[in-house]
């Protein structure tokens, strides 16, 4: 093998690897890990920074709770996650009170770190809640499309009874049913996979597995959405078939 040949092969491998890296969708990537901020050296600064960090997280918790309450459907994990957020709120408030009353600098630094590692409001609870709400939304759309499927099926049966050839419309309705079933499975999997993920508390292996689970959940939600869009396409096909039936 000449140098030129080896160079070409190497270049091709690099290009292929690059293409694969680009081909991975954003939602499938685990992304960077959190970098917890260092604690301020002066105790008064630390206390002020801690208080602001807690307030920011309480605001975020309220927003996430609002998202859950307005989801319009429930894959079964809403109460669980809402309860976790309520506990986070209480825990953060207690931790802030402890930090504000702290006189030991070393203890204050350790407690300051807990705001991030023990709650993971942004890195865990936020994407988790979004995925649970994503499941809820998919469930809602699935319910609407399932009701539509039943209506279409009744019209297909009616046309069939009148002697029309409904084979194409029936095939579309059957495919619609299969896609709706798969969408439910995918969305439920996403929600149940992430709902009980717990903060890593500084354990890198837990953090890594949490990020991987969140990534899998996102992939499931995308697959579920694709199923729902396919089911919607099937519904359109079946309705159009019903409009242009001919007697078989």
């Amino acid at each position: 093998m000449t140098f030129t040949t080896r160079f070409k092969a190497g270049a091709a491998a690099i290009v292929a690897a690059g293409a694969l890296a680009v081909a991975v969708p954003a939602y499938a990537q685990t992304g960077p890990s959190p970098t917890d901020p260092p604690a301020p050296t002066r105790l008064t600064d630390l206390k002020a920074r801690a208080d602001q960090a807690v307030k920011d997280r309480l605001t975020q918790i309220d927003a996430l709770t609002g998202r859950l309450n307005g989801a319009g459907a429930d894959c079964g994990q809403n109460a669980d996650v809402t309860g976790q957020l309520a506990n986070d709120r209480t825990g953060l408030q207690q931790l802030d009170a402890t930090i504000q009353a702290e006189s030991d600098g070393k203890k204050a630094v350790a407690e300051y770190r807990q705001i991030f590692t023990d709650f993971r409001i942004y890195w865990l609870q936020t994407p988790k809640t979004h995925e649970v709400v994503g499941c809820d939304r998919e469930r809602k759309a699935d319910t609407t499309l399932s009701a539509l499927k039943q209506k279409i099926q009744s019209r297909v049966d009616e046309a069939k009874a009148k002697g029309y050839d409904v084979s194409a419309a029936q095939a579309a309705v059957d495919d619609m049913g299969a896609k709706l079933t798969d969408a439910t499975t995918r969305a439920d999997h996403a929600s149940s996979l992430v709902a009980d993920l717990r903060p890593d508390k500084g354990d890198n292996s837990v953090l890594t597995s949490n990020l991987a689970a969140l990534s899998t959940g996102r992939q499931d939600l995308h697959a579920g959405l694709t199923d729902l869009q396919g089911a919607r396409h099937d519904a359109r096909t079946a309705i159009d078939d019903l409009k242009s039936l001919h007697k078989g």
Partner: protein, 103 residues
């Protein structure tokens, strides 16, 4: 004078009377005849329910009309579109990376 000659004036008079009577009656008769041939107005026909479906064969559907109702299906599809749009937004939210690197 022969009897036939004696009756001839009477016959002429009778014929004239018949003609005059006919002319006098022509107006009302014509009106009656016209009324007989005039089209009927404000006629209500009661068709029993289900009679159309039993008499009209499926192949006799007018062009452009579906053999079964589909307008409500189109409406259902529109509702599903709205919800799918919201679902897409929610799934997109789940794709967002955390806003803060520090947590």
């Amino acid at each position: 004078m022969e009897p036939s000659r004696a009756l001839r004036p009477l016959g002429v008079a009778a014929a004239a009377a018949v003609l005059l009577t006919g002319a006098a009656c022509n107006g009302p008769l014509a009106k009656r005849a016209a009324n007989t041939h005039a089209p009927a107005t404000a006629v209500t026909t009661v068709v029993p329910a289900g009679a159309a479906s039993t008499t009209a064969p499926p192949t006799a559907q007018p062009s452009g009309t579906a053999p079964v109702r589909t307008d409500d299906l189109d409406a259902g599809l529109q509702q599903a579109d709205t919800q799918l749009s919201q679902t897409g937004g929610a799934v997109s939210d789940a794709d967002q990376n955390p806003q803060q690197n520090s947590d």
